[in-house]
Symmetry: C2
Subunit: 225 residues, 2 copies
């Protein structure tokens, strides 16, 4: 049982919670550590409170009461699948994690991260993924390298998403909530489409909501085809 | 210009950021304050950094750089509309705010908060609403008091949501991600339905994603009817 703050493993975890390095990341709590194990990830470090380490010493961004903390080596998927999501410039890690989870539920390809996106292996993103990051690690690519039919989702532009005929493999492309997709992506996408919203509604949907809705819509279209 | 930390308005804002009271809440940042004005809300206090108050003194949960902070009196809508969402036990304020925003985009009725939900007027929820809380203040009700067709959304239960024929006014009912809806609600709901997800997907969708998808699905069904 670790009883000293100066233990090297504790130091490593504390540092990783401050700033990621060396391709390692931290998963906090039983649900995430269980998801890692269920998906065959071997931890570099695994510390259980009261078993491997004195409870007061276990570092956590969640405060006291965290029962287990694991350190893992990040993995990256290759883009693929009949349905996937590409993000550009989405800086909020909670959104990244939530979209990883939604894509795990509603797509068969990994989330593809373009330039300017938050680190999917930061603590907030890993937590928001609720373990889906272990089942479906994200991919990295530039818009120009995407394979298949690219559908650029924009507010108030193009056609309603359901009017785009199904043509898998499809990549649903979304930009940050204000800036949107870069002009080059909009110009070269195979289709430009929007999610219909009410006239008197807000300026835009949350990017996580837009991704979930778009995935659902394409998924349902495929199920009916 | 306020130049003292001891100013009464600053004290009120600092206290409200710690703990809400007296039916007042804080909106931080120009976007939220602009949304309040656009929807006809008169602030009880409105302090602009460098205009009404020395920049260093303006209290904010967002850190320095906040340009304006407003204090408003909470408002509550009555449940209604042809399409709305009811939540039970959803404790994450970010989810509450995001669902207020999604409902503003995709429903015509206010979000209805049942027992055990987070305060929609707390700083996190107000921020996540991106101003939609000013356009469409939430309502409060118990499940038993809901009017119209109640559709209980559950994982892996009932029929696919699209198999429930449209019968407005409809209330989409969602529980917390783990606990779900209480048994009494499930027993008395007019329909029980689920959002189809992939077999190899995660255990559940984020409640905000589920609400957005369900709203979109009913909205599309109404548009085609």
């Amino acid at each position: 049982m670790i009883t000293s703050r100066d233990n090297q493993q504790l130091k490593t975890i504390r540092k990783l919670l401050q700033k990621r390095r060396d391709g390692l990341f931290v998963a906090e709590g039983e649900d995430l550590v269980d998801a890692a194990a269920a998906n065959g990830w071997t931890p570099e470090i695994l510390l259980r409170s009261g078993v491997d380490v004195e409870p007061d010493l276990l570092p956590s961004s969640l405060g006291s009461g965290t029962r287990v903390v694991g350190v893992y080596r990040e993995r990256w998927s290759q883009p693929g699948g009949d349905l996937s999501v590409y993000l550009h410039g989405v800086r909020d890690p909670g959104n990244i994690g939530t979209i990883i989870r939604s894509a795990h539920a509603l797509a068969d390809g990994p989330l593809i991260l373009g330039p300017g996106c938050a680190d999917p292996y930061g603590p907030k993103a890993v937590r928001a993924s609720m373990g889906s990051i272990f089942a479906r690690p994200p991919a990295r690519a530039d818009f120009g390298d995407l394979k298949g039919t690219t559908i650029a989702l924009e507010k108030d532009a193009g056609v309603p998403l359901d009017d785009v005929a199904l043509s898998p493999p499809e990549v649903l492309c979304l930009g940050a909530e204000r800036a949107g997709l870069p002009t080059a992506a909009l110009r070269t996408a195979d289709f430009r489409a929007h999610i219909p919203v009410r006239q008197d509604g807000p300026d835009s949907l949350n990017v996580g909501m837009a991704a979930a809705i778009a995935l659902y819509a394409r998924n349902r279209m495929a199920a009916r085809a």
